[in-house]
Amino acid sequence: MGFFYSPMKLVALLKSSSAIANATKINGATWYMSAAGKDAYQKATTPAQKTMFFFEYLTAISSDAKNREVLHKIAYVIAYAVEGSSLAYGSFPDILDPDKNPLVGYVKTHKLTATDHTAYGLTLLAALHGEKEANRYLKEEYKPYARLTYCEADGKVSDLYRVERAIISAFCTGFKGQYMPPYMYEIVESANTENEEGSKNA
């Protein structure tokens, strides 16, 4: 700690008191919803700036802000696939609303203490599809691939498709095999499930 500073330095600090106070202010979750937050959102134009904006917002609302990697990946997915999309929560301020944007809601309500990123990917997909059972995205017998959105016959992809694939590719990469969750298919188990479902329908 220093006690002695040059008068010039002190004068410079004195002059920039307001700027320093603003720069050192820690923005809470509500700030992002305010006019200043909206202004910051609009000023973020490049992919990096958008990702950084969502990353800082998620850090502000998360109880496990230390898990920067996971928060950054979610921020990337939001900036890449959700922001500007035609999804109901694709624009400001709904994109930041935990009750509307399921990815933001996930960060607000879940502890991010696990080390396995695949688990985050599957629970995020479950949240995105409004389901509670993340297991259904991992176990072959539930035919998890059938829950995903696929591109249309003319090759067009929906916004939900972009979000799903961004989540899968960002999080579900820990598997060494050729297939990664939720692309899991076991020929006998899956076929048995088909039969069970068929008999139920019948």
């Binding site: 990096a48 990697e69 950054h72 890449y80 990664m180």
Partner: protein, 402 residues
């Protein structure tokens, strides 16, 4: 004579009942055997179908070579960690903090100038007193509060500048990677992967349906194969059961004991059917009790054997533990003995070293004395010195060469 005849008929009827019952049991065993064989064939067919499906899937997996879709690495790299912001900094309190430092410094300089003037003026004295109060107040605030805030901000600014550089690099790398072309590449990879995966699912599902049809047809064939055999036996069992149901000589619950009753009558242990039934029931009860006793005895025997085994294991474990303890103790004692022997050898070595040192010291003293005597003999004053002085030649300072 008529009684004997009647008894002969009863025995003949009992023999028939016993024969029917044995036949029934034989057919029942046969039926169970055939059912078991059918179940085994069903299971073998199921295992074969599952194995075929797994092998097919493995072959398909080998053909599957779609690349996993990937996002550009810079996009998934977390941004550099920003320095922690100093807390409780407002425009007002930071202004006060910086100002206190400046005021204290400025007042101190003016106070020094006034002191250097060394004036007797009342005004200068008042001004000096006032400045002293200002210096003390401002300096007190600066040292107690202001300098902490200013230092925190200055340190944060330095770290922030470094972070901003790293952040700019991160943003540049991110923006270079997150292009529209990159996005198109990623989505194209996703579509290729999806197509390949869904094709795999389709061909596997088709194969499964084929194998399932084979499985069902196989089950049907096995069922047909065994059905005739089972039907024949079943019909025969029904015939035997019908005959057994028509038995009136003894109650249907006594049919399994018909051989005992028959035995009583044949060996003459009973004179009437009723007596034979009672004796047979009694014998059956005794046999059951004996069987229960034997079972209990066997259980006791097993229990005792288990206890004996446990005791043997326990004793063996105790013996091993004792042996290990003894071995450890022996090793410890041996180590102690070796240490004592080492110490004794070291002490002996030290004593020898000390004796050698002493001998060397004596030798050096003798050599010194001899050299001094030789030097004394070469001295010009040799004849003038007394015997005692010559003996103390080593300390002589009056040496004069001849």
């Amino acid at each position: 004579m008529s009684n004997e005849m009647k008894m002969t008929e009863i025995i003949a009827e009992l023999e028939r009942i016993d024969g029917l019952y044995e036949r029934y049991q034989h057919l029942d065993r046969q039926m169970n055997g055939i059912s078991g064989e059918k179940e085994k064939e069903d299971e073998a067919l199921g295992n074969d179908v599952v194995l075929t499906l797994h092998e097919y899937r493995e072959a398909q997996d080998e053909k599957f070579n779609a690349k996993k879709p990937s996002i550009a690495a810079p996009c998934l790299a977390a941004p550099p960690c920003a320095p922690e912001k100093p807390k409780d900094i407002t425009a007002k309190n930071f202004f006060m903090a910086s100002a206190s430092g400046l005021v204290a410094l400025g007042s101190f300089i003016i106070w020094c100038v006034l002191a250097a003037l060394n004036s007797d003026s009342i005004l200068v004295g008042l001004l000096s007193g006032l400045l002293t109060i200002v210096i003390l107040g401002a300096a007190g605030y600066w040292f107690a509060v202001g300098s902490h805030k200013v230092t925190a901000v200055v340190e944060w600014q330095a770290k922030q500048a470094e972070w901003e550089k790293q952040q700019a690099e991160w943003e540049a790398a991110f923006n270079r990677a997150a292009t529209e072309q990159e996005s198109q590449r990623f989505l194209a990879e996703c579509q290729t992967y999806d197509t390949a995966f869904l094709s795999l699912v389709d061909v596997c599902s088709k194969k499964y349906r084929e194998e399932f049809a084979r499985y069902e047809a196989g089950l049907e064939a096995i069922k047909d194969k065994y059905l005739k055999k089972l039907n024949d036996i079943h019909e025969e069992i029904q015939g035997v059961l019908t005959q057994l149901e028509q038995v009136t000589l003894i109650h249907s619950s006594l049919i399994p004991s018909a051989w005992r009753i028959l035995n009583m009558l044949r060996t003459g242990r009973a004179d009437t059917l009723k007596e034979a039934i009672n004796l047979a029931a009694d014998e059956e009860r005794k046999d059951a009790e004996e069987a229960a006793r034997q079972e209990e005895a066997m259980q006791q025997q097993r229990l005792m054997e288990q206890q004996a085994h446990d005791a043997r294991m326990h004793n063996a474990a105790m013996e091993r533990a004792a042996e290990e303890e003894a071995r450890a103790m022996r090793a410890h004692n041996a180590a102690m003995e070796r240490a004592a022997a080492d110490q004794a050898r070291a002490a002996e070595r030290q004593a020898r070293e000390a004796a050698k040192q002493t001998e060397m010291a004596k030798q050096q003293a003798r050599d010194a004395q001899r050299a001094a005597s030789a030097r004394c003999a070469r001295c010009a004053n040799y004849s003038k010195c007394s015997y005692q002085v010559r003996q103390n030649a080593a300390n002589c300072s009056a040496y004069t060469p001849k």
